[in-house]
Amino acid sequence: MNPLAGFSDWALALLPRMFLYPGGLAIIAAFLLALFMSRPVRTAVLHDALQLLARANIAALALAWATLSILPLPGVNPLPFPVDRFSLVAVTGISLLLDLVSRKERDADELWPSLAIVLALMSPVALQRGLVPGEPSQSIASYVTAAAVLAGLVGLFGSVRNGWSNAARWLAWWGATLALGVVPGDVWELVTLPAALVLGLVAQRLDWSRYATFLAYVLALAALATSLLLPPG
């Protein structure tokens, strides 16, 4: 194929994904999530929204938004060029690194749960023998992976209040798990997003985020172990 034609096809497929669905919807949802989590009680919403927008780390947020835009979600027209799990995880990981660089305080609160999610999302390659995601599986390893990601999202929820890019990454991790077919899409979609939001709020209020992160690591390592023990699909 003519390279310019290929680039053009990609660009034309990307634009509605970026500004409508899934990218546009997800980035607005992330903004609202960050706004809800970050604003103190009884302050002007518009003022807080403008502050959230003005403080956004463009580089980190752009990477998270790009991840949300290129997610190969079920039911969405696929992009003309496939995207594998390494690409999705790496782009979101780089967004995290850029946010770590720009912060004045040196906290690793977002790092450890994010790494647990990265480990969990990479574990299924042991079953598939390729970085391109395969068909959703119903094996034990897949459900352990899903549980690990869910625990990681709960542990990560507290960082959502730090900014728009943090919230966007949180949604990107959730979306990547859906797109990579860790478990059947309807199971993940219906159950995990509300559960992660509620459990994340509870964990943050009770200061249980570190326990959720620890559980995420245990489950991620268990997912890796079970993926290695099962025959490749």
């Binding site: 390279p3 310019l4 034609a5 290929g6 680039f7 053009s8 990609w10 660009a11 990307l14 970026m18 990218g23 003022h47 403008l50 502050q51 927008l53 003005a54 956004a56 463009i58 580089a59 947020l61 752009a62 990477l63 938004w65 790009a66 835009s69 290129i70 992009l79 003309p80 060029f81 496939p82 995207v83 594998d84 390494f86 690409s87 995880v89 790496a90 782009v91 990981g93 780089i94 995290l96 690194l97 850029l98 770590l100 660089v101 040196r106 906290d107 690793a108 790092l111 790494l115 990265v118 480990l119 990479m122 390659v125 042991a126 023998r129 390729g130 970085l131 391109v132 890796l224 290695l228």
Partner: protein, 452 residues
């Protein structure tokens, strides 16, 4: 003692190194028609031109750093000599010539950086820097002075496991030992950074030993396994060092990570040409990282450049059965970079042209990774014909990215680097304008409040 050339900057050492780089580029059309054999000392091939040019350019940049403030003229001359020694190392016809060039370059690095070593450890620093060359020279003697010429045909005897281990130890020795003596005393910040960059360059040039060995023959299967194991151990040491390090350990951590991943890549390369390309990419990306590692922002952005190489090594590890390696590479790499950021407290935030150029190169190379692979890396890896097969699994879509094909024609990995770069660019532009609008609204609201 008043330094020579005090108050004036001399550019002739820098110009000399740049001229060397240009001369090497001039050899590209000749090498395209066939490797240039200058037996018994030198052999010019695509692999050598790629790394020789990059290292010479880097030395020119470090030389400029030394002479920027009118001091370090002597160091700049030493750097020119190191450049020549590195070219001997790069274009060596056989392993003994390679060891001689490597050893002389190590002596040069020690001579420049000895004043920055902690008191009483200068000799230890020299021994550690030379240990790599000593191991290489011993290997050359034991294996009968092997030449770096691809086999003409027939069955190729693989490198025995002991030779592979010796080569790996030579690589690790230059990286780990040389940087153990990392103390900086009584030197200006710019000279401290230049000295550390030079040591890191020396360490990151070491995996070239394995690349040259692959020109001749592949590894014994046990040798492959040992290289992968040693590479993962080196990477884990990098993770541990990153976790424990404070302020001064950043360069050492980055070197451990890059050398570890390169060892894994070259280890698997005998069974997967994709790994050879990935390892070569990671080596080059590591050099960009080292040059900009003094600036926290720049270091992260330069580390982005390693991602395509990491992608190739991960898929190659899957193809060759090293599944755990494939799963762990990306999380460990992100962890290493993140910990160096978190533990870093003193890096400058400003960005000048010294940093901007490598950043621009790294971002462009990542966004157009298929171009880098086809133009630079594929010819270089083709040189390793003795140990690395033909690269047939990697398919290029010039407009979007790269894919790895399975034998049945399916796709096992896909990296739309240019496509992702386009997505990031468009979202960044949209966010920039939104941010500008937000600031205007805030300023207007603040202005209205003050007026009231």
């Amino acid at each position: 003692m008043k330094p020579a050339n005090s108050g004036r900057t001399s550019i002739w050492p820098v110009a000399f190194l740049l001229l060397l780089a240009l001369l090497q580029l001039g050899l590209v059309p000749l090498v395209a028609q066939g490797d240039i054999n200058l037996a018994p000392l030198f052999r010019v091939d695509s692999l050598g031109i790629l790394f020789g040019t990059v290292w010479t350019l880097m030395l020119g940049a470090i030389s400029f750093l030394f002479t920027r403030r009118g001091r370090g003229y002597t160091e700049a001359i030493f750097l020119s000599i190191i450049g020549i020694d590195l070219l001997v190392y790069t274009y060596a016809h056989n392993m003994m010539v390679m060891a001689v060039g490597w050893g002389l370059a190590g002596v040069g690095v020690w001579a420049i950086t000895r004043e920055s070593s902690p008191p009483g450890q200068s000799n230890r620093a020299m021994l550690s820097l030379l240990s790599s060359a000593i191991i290489l020279a011993t290997l050359a003697v034991v294996t009968g002075f092997p030449t770096f010429i691809p086999p003409a045909g027939g069955v190729v005897q693989p490198w025995p496991a002991t030779a592979v281990v010796a080569g790996a130890l030579a690589v690790v020795a230059s990286g780990g030992w040389g940087l153990l003596v990392e103390g900086q005393h009584n030197r200006k910040e710019v000279e401290q950074r230049a000295g550390l960059t030079l040591k890191a360059l020396y360490a990151l040039a070491a995996p070239y030993i394995l690349a040259k060995m692959l020109v001749t023959a592949p590894w014994h299967p046990i040798g492959t396994w040992l290289l992968v194991l040693l590479g993962m151990l080196t990477l884990l040491i990098g993770v541990y060092t990153a976790y424990e390090s404070h302020k001064r350990g950043r360069t050492r951590v980055l070197v451990y990570a890059q050398v570890g991943i390169t060892l894994v890549g070259f280890g698997i390369a005998a069974n997967s040409p994709l790994a050879a390309v990935g390892a070569t990419w990671v080596m080059l990306a590591g050099l960009l990282w080292v040059v900009t590692s003094g600036w926290r922002w720049a270091g992260v952005r330069a580390s982005v450049a390693a991602m395509p190489g990491l992608w190739m090594v991960s898929q190659a590890a899957l193809d060759t059965g090293y599944v755990v390696v494939s799963v762990l590479l990306l999380p460990l790499y992100i962890l290493v970079v993140a910990l160096t950021i978190i533990h870093d407290s003193g890096a400058r935030r400003s960005c000048n042209w010294w940093v901007a150029i490598p950043i621009a190169v790294s971002i462009t190379a990542t966004a157009l990774s298929q171009l880098v692979v086809e133009v630079l890396l594929r010819p270089a890896v083709r040189t390793m014909a003795g140990g690395v097969g033909a690269l047939t699994v990697l398919a290029i879509d010039w407009g979007v990215g790269m894919t790895v094909r399975t034998p049945s024609g399916g796709i096992s990995a896909a990296l739309p680097a240019t496509g992702i770069a386009l997505a990031v660019f468009l979202t960044a532009v949209a966010l920039y304008w939104l941010k500008q609008l937000a600031w205007r609204a805030i300023n207007q609201a603040n202005g209205d409040t003050q007026a009231e």
